[in-house]
């Protein structure tokens, strides 16, 4: 027999109220931990995706939308940029590199980024960590594709597989259709980068331009035939070679720019000058990805602090419920206290037994909360990866877990003080008598 067993039995005697109050502590601790862990992890994950790009040019409505679309594949950019504009920007400054990209196609829901081959060598999805091929090689010729690690896993793709892209970012819209006449061959699979690029597929701009040029030309020649009811879509497709492409068919949706920097440094002294210069061109939107992600985090940060505050209120109310549950059971408790006192327990000891009881609810509830938070983070992590391609660590921050557990325990211990005082003041002789 020990004081702890005594407390445990006392808790078991009120199983329902004990489990309810413990569940409240569990939920509030889990909520608090998931929010605290995800807000840091999500911010890190967002910062990772922008990599070593200094500037992103697109024709999207705002710089933030440009970054979300161009670097996190949130949606296909709605407006194209002409090849002439790219050449103009490329030639306007001695960039370290300027990579044109085009988004709009997809493979079974995974975004396809058409770009130049050097995207896979010069662009680093995480600064200092370039793309690495897990298998195969980078794309060189037309209709070759390199697959991000998550996309390869999700679609079960391996080297030499032939796949057909969809026109449209989701592949589910009525306007979407397959580019069945031009299957792509998987030539490489990337290692995981922990960024949104893991769920994308990468191919050459030229391949995409050829497909879309052929479609555009077919539509032009088919239009009168659509009026003919005998038309059955079984006709010869127009064939376009790279040399046939006109500048108007070479459309892109983004330009990734990096300015020259000193060795070992990511900063460039001329960044703000170039940003200002490009911004004067009203036909394009220029974004500084790192800054836009910082802004996004600042907006989201205010909202998630609200959630953290709400979780703290839930934690406080769970402490209050511990107190109420214990006070509500005081009639039963007073008799037990009287028995303990008559058997030799001091008033201070029964005071501490009550505090220990509430503390135990707090500790067990908090431990349950940590376990629930681990599951919650795992769930939230996979949800973020699936929905926006941002991979956040599934674990929880153990320092936060320790702090929140200690806080919940302390609150629970404080909640036990009121019933403990009632126990301390119990009139022993009166509560040992038969109940009238």
């Amino acid at each position: 027999m020990s004081d702890l067993l005594l407390v445990w039995r006392s808790l078991r005697a009120r199983q329902l109220s004990t489990s309810m109050t413990m569940a409240m502590v569990t939920v509030s601790v889990a909520l608090l931990l998931v929010l605290l862990s995800l807000r840091e992890a999500a911010a890190d994950a967002f910062r990772r995706g922008t990599g070593n790009v200094h500037l992103l040019v697109s024709a999207d409505a705002s710089p933030l939308v440009a970054v979300l679309n161009g670097m996190f594949y949130a949606n296909a950019p709605s407006n194209p940029i002409s090849w002439a504009k790219f050449k103009e920007i490329d030639g306007s400054f001695p960039w370290a590199w300027a990579i044109p990209t085009q988004l709009g196609d997809s493979y079974r829901g995974s975004p396809v980024m058409a770009c130049e081959a050097r995207f896979l060598t010069d662009f680093e999805p995480v600064a200092g960590e370039p793309f690495r091929l897990a298998q195969g090689v980078g794309f060189k010729g037309d209709f070759e594709v390199v697959v991000g690690s998550q996309a390869a896993r999700e679609h079960g793709l391996s080297l030499a597989d032939a796949i057909v892209m969809n026109h449209g970012a989701s592949g589910q819209s009525l306007a979407d259709h397959e580019h069945a006449e031009h299957p792509y061959t998987v030539v490489g699979i990337l290692e995981p980068t922990g960024s949104a690029h893991d769920r994308a597929l990468f191919t050459s701009l030229q391949s995409t331009w050829i497909i879309h040029a052929e479609e555009r030309r077919e539509q032009t020649t088919d239009e009168p035939a659509h009026a003919d009811e005998a038309h059955d879509h079984e006709h010869d497709h127009a064939h376009v070679d790279a040399d046939d492409l006109t500048d108007s068919e070479k459309l892109i949706t983004g330009i990734l720019l990096r300015l020259p920097t000193r060795p070992g440094s990511d900063a460039s002294a001329s960044l703000s000058v170039q940003l200002d210069r490009l911004r004067r061109d009203t036909s394009i939107t220029v974004a500084q990805p790192a800054q836009q992600i910082g802004r996004l985090m600042a907006i989201v940060g205010d909202i998630d602090w609200l959630f953290v505050a709400l979780a703290l209120v839930v934690l406080l109310s769970s402490a209050l419920s511990i107190m109420l549950a214990m006070v509500a059971s005081m009639d039963l408790r007073r008799r037990q206290v009287a028995i303990l006192r008559v058997l030799g327990a001091s008033a201070w000891r029964v005071f501490m037994l009550a505090v220990t009881e509430s503390t135990l609810i707090g500790v067990l509830g908090a431990l349950g909360g940590v376990a629930l938070a681990l599951i919650g983070c795992e769930f939230a992590s996979s949800l973020l990866a699936d929905r926006i391609g941002v991979r956040v660590g599934a674990g929880i921050d153990w320092r936060s877990a320790l702090l929140v557990t200690a806080g919940a325990t302390l609150l629970a211990a404080c909640a036990g003080v009121v019933p403990a005082i009632q126990s301390y003041r119990t009139a022993v002789a009166r509560h040992l008598r038969p109940i009238a």
Binding site: A13, Q336, R341, V342, L343, S346, A347, P434
Partner: protein, 231 residues
């Protein structure tokens, strides 16, 4: 006026010297001098509300005397602080109640072990002595929760709990109040035998005059009552 005890209090299992207690509302209790020798069994008789339970509470240190001293095993309880008095009670006084006051949800063994824990015994001592006390009183289902035992068995567990700490004094408050005469006789026999085996002084309160013949000395508590009031 407080009378000096007829012998040094330390020589008795229990000695009350000039004890007064005030309930308020015009009712008081005054015990000028009362001694109980080691191993002696006495009956405190009196009608309901005459102050028997209050006197036991004063002896056990559960109520504080207004004046006077309560000596048990050579220690004046009134001179002890609250915590020391609680600890002393756990080690030297065994109590048995009309309602038994066992802890529900705990086994027979745990109920007895709890008293031993509060008396300062080690876990090993708790286990051994609880087992011995229960065996002496014929309880075999020691792991059963007390509420699942028959009333007779629960009484035995309550007696085992009181004697397990090897007390100097056993106080039994109306142990037969809700029993028929046959069961009352059995219970008194059980308590007296247990007290005799433990070598403890036994003080039983009862309003039942039929128990007088079971005790060598009977003290009428009504003689201590200063004024009968609302109680």
């Amino acid at each position: 006026m407080v009378r000096a005890p007829s012998a040094a209090p330390a020589t008795y299992a229990l000695s009350l010297v000039g004890v007064t207690f005030d309930y308020g509302r015009g009712f008081s209790l005054a015990v000028p001098d009362m001694q109980v020798a080691a191993g002696e069994h006495i009956l405190l008789s009196g009608r309901s509300g005459s102050g028997k339970s209050t006197l036991l509470a004063l002896i056990a240190g559960l109520e504080s005397v207004r004046t006077g001293s309560v000596w048990i095993h050579g220690t004046d309880l009134t001179k002890l602080g609250t915590a020391a008095r609680d600890a002393f009670r756990g080690r030297h006084i065994g109590m048995i109640f009309q309602t038994l006051n066992l802890l529900p949800g705990f086994s027979a063994h745990e109920n007895v072990a709890l008293a031993l824990m509060l008396a300062g015994c080690t876990p090993a001592e708790q286990s051994t002595r609880a087992q011995q006390a229960l065996a002496l009183l014929g309880i075999t289902e020691t792991a059963a929760r007390v509420e699942t035992l028959s009333i007779g068995q629960q009484q035995r567990v309550a007696v085992a709990r009181a004697v397990s700490v090897k007390p100097s004094v056993i106080l039994a408050d109306e142990p037969t109040a809700s029993l028929d005469p046959t069961n009352a006789r059995t219970t008194i026999d059980l308590i007296q035998t247990a007290a005799r085996n433990a070598g403890a002084a036994l003080i039983v309160t009862s309003h039942d005059p039929s128990l007088r013949s079971d005790f060598a000395r009977v003290i009428d508590v009504e003689a201590f009552a200063g004024q009968r009031g609302a109680r």
